[in-house]
C-alpha cells in the first residue's frame, strides 16, 4: 500500500484524494488523537521510527520532559508508561493511526496519507516552537 504523494500545500485549491479511504481517520478522531501532548509525541516517535517498544517510547517521552525538569525519576517514568499503555496507545489505535500489541509492548505506525503525516510533524514543530519561547 503506497502512500499518497501529496504534501500539505494549502494554497493549492485541489482537494486531496486518498488511495485507501478506509485507512483515513475521520476528522474528529484525528483531532481528538492530537489533543494530548504525550499522545502527539508518541505519534511523532512512531512516525519517525515506524515501530518502537513501549519502554523506549517511554524513555523518549521522559527525555522530552528533561527540558523542563532536569531529571526524571522512576515514579514519573512509570506514570508515563502507564498512561501510554492504558490511555494513549489504545486511543491512537482506536483512531486508526497505529497498531499496538499489548502483549509484546510494541507499537507501530499505520500507513498514513501524507497530509496526516505532515500534520503530525506540524504539531511537533508547533509544540517545540512554543516550548522554546517559554524557555527563553
Amino acid at each position: 500500500m503506497g502512500r499518497d504523494n501529496q504534501s500539505l500545500d494549502l494554497d493549492d485549491d485541489e482537494l486531496w484524494t486518498f488511495t485507501d479511504w478506509e485507512s483515513v481517520p475521520s476528522s474528529d478522531r484525528l483531532y481528538r488523537a492530537l489533543t494530548d501532548q504525550d499522545r502527539r509525541r508518541a505519534l511523532y516517535c512512531l512516525l519517525e521510527y515506524e515501530e518502537q517498544s513501549i519502554d523506549e517510547m517511554t524513555d523518549i517521552l521522559a527525555g522530552w520532559e528533561l527540558f523542563q525538569n532536569g531529571v526524571v525519576g522512576n515514579e514519573a517514568w512509570e506514570q508515563t508508561r502507564t498512561q501510554l499503555v492504558h490511555v494513549h496507545l489504545p486511543m491512537l489505535e482506536d483512531c486508526g493511526l497505529i497498531e499496538y500489541d499489548a502483549d509484546s509492548g510494541d507499537a507501530q505506525i499505520k500507513t498514513l496519507p501524507d497530509p496526516v503525516r505532515d500534520l503530525i510533524r506540524f504539531t511537533q514543530k508547533y509544540d517545540r516552537s512554543l516550548m522554546a519561547h517559554d524557555l527563553r
Binding site: 523518549i60 527540558f67 531529571v71 522512576n74 517545540r128
Partner: protein, 234 residues
Amino acid sequence: MSLATVVERAEQQRKLVTVYDGDGELFEDQLSTRNVTVVHRPLPPGVFEAFVAIRDGESFEAAIPLSDLREFLTPPIRRPGDFDDLSPEYRAIFTLFDDTVFASLDRRQLLATVRELEDRAWRTAEGELHVGFQSVVAFREQEPVYRRLAEETDLDVHVYTVPESSTDELSDPPITFHTEPIEDVGRFWFFAFDGGPDPSQNCAMVAEQRDGGSYYGFWTYDRPMVDRVFEELR
C-alpha cells in the same frame, strides 16, 4: 561457600545506560571499567537534546541530559556527603560511579590490583584479611608478602589454597590456613579485607579463571559488596 554467586550478584547489579543521542557520542572510555553497560539509541530528528536513561537491571531509575552526566563524569567525581538525602534519581546517577569495577582482566592487571588492596591492609595494620590462591605454588610465590603482613602487623591473615599432596605442610602461625572448599578455591583468585577499625578501608576482589587464563570478576571498595564476599568465606 559460593564465590560464583557473589560474582553473579555483582554482574546483576550492572547498570544499563541508554544514551539517546543520534550521533553516537562515546562514553565507553569513562564507564567501561565500571559496573555499567552502555548502549546507544537514536533520537527522533530535531526534537531535543541528547539524554541518558539509567536502569538497574530491568528497572528504570533516572533520565538526565547527557550534558549533565558529562559534568558528573568530569573528575574529580565527588559523591555528596549527604548521599542518603538525595532523591532516588540523583542517587542512581552517583551509584553509576560506585567503586565496583567489573571486567575481564589478565593476571598482571589483577596482581597490580591486589597489590593496592594489600597496601590498604598494610597501612591499616588491623582487621581480617582473607586471600585465596588457586594453588600452593601460587601461594609460595606470594608467601613473603603475606608472612610479613601477618607477622609485622596485627592483621588476622587467612590463606586459602588447594593442597597438592598430603605432605604439604601449610599450618604455620600466625597465618591461618584453609583448604576448603577446594572447588571454589581452585577456581577463584580472591582477596577480602574488612578494614579493621576503619571500615572505609574495606575492599575485596573476586576473579574467576576462565578459558585461556584470563580472569573475570570484580574488585570493590563498596561495603555491602565486601560484606557479601566475607559472608561467603566465613
